[in-house]
């Protein structure tokens, strides 16, 4: 621990050279930009800038590219809150309450609490990263296919009804998500499933297309369907003094931010859809323990503060497997791995001993970068909040343009744009009949991973189902899933017995 602190001090001397400070700032700025633009995520941002770093020293290059990744986590919530367009997969959940807050004239408070929560969670995440990286990476290795399966199964059961509206409707949406997730190449035999001879369907349905379609395009279409006069009145324009969160807001957000940080940091160590699980879990926890769960979905600030913090903490802990194992658990870290390799640095078990200055320099730059991002993002709050002053008849077409261009940048695919429009229409219809998009997106992300982990486990165990219950970690998750299913039933029974006894 003491050694880590000493090494970190050396890291700060590396990170605070004028040169490296500049690249840290650059990363933060670019990250914020790609985060704000829907569709354009950290992956595109980092990939675009890798060639620009060829002439740089490895440390400066990684400082900048890592900055883009965690910087994008700050901006991702902006369009979710203002326009109901999730900028990143991680900010789907922020749409639920963030957008409602904006509609009630509280966009400024929502945006500001995102920046503050992101800063707190990001910083806590780096503390964890700098003190505990090697042991945590070893812990992550204990997760084999059976553990993933049980974790995903638990996540699926616990998080399907994340919005807490109708259980039946949520489950219907989740099953639809599972079905959509089966399209593409079979992960075990490599055969085509439901592709109908189309090369584009072979790759499966792009998550971002479904997310932007269901939320962003769907919202625009619902608005278009309303009378023009009602439309302009619906949004409350924020007043100047309401641009920043009140003391009450901060107080209500403090615990959700801390809880979100913890959940996010833990989930970030799990390969795959960590940001999605982290944000959904945080939202679920806040809604469950809230004294006023009915406010969720109506603009509860806890529903913004928690998930946004979880998202940033998950992003920081995702660096642990990259640095210590040299293995990317998330797509943006896969791009970063490439950046490391092209600069002749191989992340992995030898990184800390072979390149101490690079490792600790990058870690130190993250502390600085997170602070820069807070300072950078807060002044933008009034500017972004004022976007809502734009008349809807101008704003809505602009949103569509943003969605179309943003979608194209994800895979340079026109097919994805058509998919997005298709899911936009679906989103419009779902809204009319009060179905939620969130469970569908969750199932779309978890479904394929669940299937692969299940089949892998059984292949490894030669078909023995005991593999799921013989391993302690896996068993714990399965028991938790069962408890989650049975608890509400027990509660109802208990109440009925009591009522019977009383009556």
């Amino acid at each position: 621990m003491l050694e880590s602190l000493q090494a970190l001090a050396v890291g700060f001397s590396v990170a605070t050279t004028l040169h490296n400070l500049f690249y840290c700032l650059m990363g933060a700025v670019v990250g914020t930009l790609v985060g704000v633009l829907p569709g354009v995520g950290p992956i595109a941002g980092i990939a675009l800038l890798i060639p620009a770093t060829y002439g740089l020293e490895p440390t400066s290059a990684i400082i900048m590219l890592a900055g883009i990744y965690y910087g994008a986590m700050y901006g991702g919530s902006t369009t979710s809150i203002l326009l109901n367009v999730p900028g990143e997969t991680a900010s789907v959940i922020t749409c639920l309450d963030g957008y409602q807050m904006a509609q009630r004239g509280r966009a400024g408070a929502a945006l500001a609490i995102c920046a503050i929560g992101s800063f707190v969670a990001g910083t806590l995440g780096i503390v964890g990263l700098s003190l505990l990286a090697p042991p945590l990476a070893q812990a992550a290795l204990a997760f084999g296919p059976p553990e993933y399966f049980s974790l995903m199964a638990f996540g699926f059961i616990a998080l399907s009804n994340v919005t807490g509206t109708s259980l039946l409707k949520s489950l219907m949406m989740a099953v639809a998500g599972l079905a959509i997730g089966t399209i593409g190449l079979d992960p075990v035999t490599g055969e085509a499933r439901f592709a109908y001879g189309s090369d584009y369907l072979l790759g499966g349905i792009e998550f971002v297309a479904v997310a932007i379609g269901l939320f962003g395009i769907g919202e625009v279409l619902s608005n278009v369907n309303r009378p023009a006069a009602a439309l302009e009145q619906a949004v409350k324009i924020p007043r100047l003094r309401e641009l920043y969160p009140s003391g009450q807001d901060l107080k209500r957000s403090a615990w959700p931010i801390l809880r979100g940080s913890g959940v996010g940091f833990g989930v970030g160590l799990v390969p795959g859809p960590a940001p999605v699980i982290a944000t959904y879990s945080s939202y679920m926890i806040e809604r469950k323990i809230s004294k006023h769960p009915e406010r969720f979905g109506q603009g509860a600030i806890e529903g913004v503060a928690g998930p946004e913090s979880a998202n940033n903490a998950a992003c920081q802990s995702a660096f642990i497997p990259l640095f210590v194992l040299g293995i990317p658990f998330a797509p943006p870290t896969a791009i970063l791995l490439g950046a490391f390799l092209i600069h002749g640095v191989t992340p992995g078990p030898l990184l800390i001993s072979e390149h101490p200055n690079l490792f600790w320099g990058v870690i130190a730059s993250m502390y600085i970068g997170n602070f820069v991002l807070l300072v950078l993002n807060l002044p933008f709050v009034p500017l972004f909040a004022n976007i809502l002053r734009i008349p809807k008849k101008v704003l809505l077409p602009l949103v569509i343009v943003f969605c179309l261009t943003g979608m194209y940048t994800v895979n340079n695919s026109v097919f994805d744009i058509w998919m997005m429009i298709l899911f936009g229409v679906v989103g419009f219809l779902l809204r009319r009949w009060a179905y939620e998009g969130a469970p569908l997106l969750l199932a779309l992300v978890l479904g394929p991973k669940l299937e692969v982990a299940f089949r892998q486990s059984l292949m490894i165990s030669h078909g023995d189902f005991g593999v799921f219950v013989n391993r302690p970690v896996s068993l714990v998750f399965l028991l938790a899933a069962v408890a989650f299913l049975l608890l509400p039933i027990c509660k109802t029974c208990y109440r009925q017995i009591r009522r019977a006894a009383a009556g």
Binding site: I43, A44, I46, A47, I50, P51, Y54, A140, L141, A142, F143, G144, P145, G184, L185, D186, P187, V188, T189, G190, E191, A192, A195, G197, D199, Y200, L201, L202, G203, P271, P321, L325, G326, I327, P328, F329, P331, A334, I335, L336, L337, G338, A339, L341, I342, H343, G344, T346, P347, G348, P349, L350, N411, N412, S413, V452, Q456, M459, I460, H462
Partner: protein, 316 residues
Amino acid sequence: MLRKMAFICMALALLACPLAMAADFPAKEVQIIVPWSAGGATDLIFRALANTTEKYLKKPVVVVNRPGGGGAVGYTEGSKAKPDGYTLTAAVTPLTILPHNVKTAFTYRSFVPIINVVSDPSMFLVQAKAPWKDLKEFLTYAKQNPGMITVGNSGAGGGVHLVALAFQNAAGVKLNHIPFAGGGPSVTALLGGHINAVVVSPPEGIAHIKAGKLRIIALFADKRLSMFPNVPTVSEQGVPFVMGMWRGLVAPKGTPPAVIKKLHDAFQKGMNDPAFKKNARDMSINLNYLGGADFGKLIADSDAKFGALIKQMKKK
């Protein structure tokens, strides 16, 4: 009469077109379609090569990512591009695998080979503390316990998966093949002890071999790796077997030979550029120059091998 003359003029113009095109090629930027996402090994290699080739081609070389369908989307687009030499495709082993596995709009015959850039041998890795000291012990155990050794690969029907299948045929053993979503997850599962071995191609796993966590138990190369000169190939140990992954550039069928030659010469110079060589060394990839004809032979040979393997795999 007038009509006849116009026809002749047009025919002449059409004939002259490719010639004129070859002479002043390239007149604009050249695109390389990479059928995978940005940041993967193939993407990085061709971005680095594009960077050094620009000065020899005297026009920008731009990498465009068209991921999806395990490469099918990118190859379909690449094969349908105008055969004028301005749209090239990064050809990697799956080009000769996909058409056997699923119905595709292309085969390797839809393309003309330009140059091969990289050939990486595949290999089996096990944990450093695994009970098998060498290939002989590994194979003996596999023979005594058919289907018990679990071998992770980077994707069902993918390149290294088929290499592993081909090796088990060559060595006369039966292994239990577990597909993962990429080389990273399969190596993670080996590190965590959830599987017994993985089949990979460098640079996957190299960092862990250097750190002493994993070791190479079977190397399918024609000669030893310069990085690990103490690791013998499987051929040295009595199982004659060489197989790996290749990465090169192809153009759509019908591209004029003169244009192909110009592209080949420029990319060859780009390959020999010290900056690119350093990039390749840093990434632990094995540069292997092959001209168009030899590359074409390699692709056809690989297509035949994989075709037979997949037929055998599907029969089961």
